[in-house]
Symmetry: C2
Subunit: 147 residues, 2 copies
């Protein structure tokens, strides 16, 4: 199979029970995490008391981790519900379709077909070891929060 | 609490059923992973057919991941059994004791006390969100394989 350019991945912690905000606070207190970015869910209004965190990016030492509230969009299975204990890997690819096809050819199972989501092309596969990989296009940013 | 220097973490996938070798092969096929290091379990002989992988380090794009067979040493709970869906984070700290104390003060629970393990100081905590953090000393390498 042809080479597929993958740029790297970040672990993404999907927190159930609307506790992503609490998780962010915990990682700051426990590991001195620095919050370097946050994207609220675009359907939430800024004045709501408890905004859903689509993705907060934290830096712990030199490493990056994404923390997200668990939510179901359009009936899509959430990463937490689908296994992996709430931890998924967000893998950046130059060609999302090719990357998903290569993973499937190697034995991964499609969890959600490649589609435009969160402002970027995204496909999800589960590997034979139960790990969820969200394969996303490189350089496409999620929408800015409506702050 | 005083600052605790953390250098960063690597995700560690703990694979049950002696399938770490299969997982390494899968990640090479699926994501073009490059194996940049492997440490076999020091109690295994190299001539054994199916060596336990203490830790294989893979590079996917610019990111690193550790893949390990799941095994119980000295009655220690395995990461897979303890939650986190087989994914833990190996966090490098300059002062393991201080890092564990700070995490516990913030709400993490000790899974195994700090002790000399795999050739380096290591303590394990589980955070309030179910994620296992193996906090290890910086720069101490695991023992070389008996190849």
């Amino acid at each position: 199979m042809a080479e597929v350019a993958l740029l790297g991945f970040k672990p993404q912690l999907v927190v159930p029970g609307m506790k992503a905000e609490a998780a962010v606070r915990f990682y700051k207190a426990a590991f001195g995490a620095e919050e370097i970015g946050r994207v609220a869910h675009p359907k939430r209004k800024a004045e709501q008391e408890c905004p859903l965190i689509l993705s907060a990016e934290l830096k712990i030492g030199s490493s990056l981790i994404l923390v997200s509230d668990c939510f179901d969009a359009a009936g899509e299975e959430s990463a937490a519900a689908a296994g992996g204990g709430g931890i998924a890997f967000r893998l950046e690819a130059e060609d999302v379709d090719a990357a998903v096809k290569k993973a499937v050819a190697a034995g991964a199972e499609v969890m959600s077909e490649v589609s435009e989501e969160e402002g970027s092309l995204l496909g999800k596969v589960k590997d034979p070891f139960g790990v969820v990989w969200a394969i996303a296009a490189v350089g496409k940013k999620s929408p800015e929060p409506e702050a």
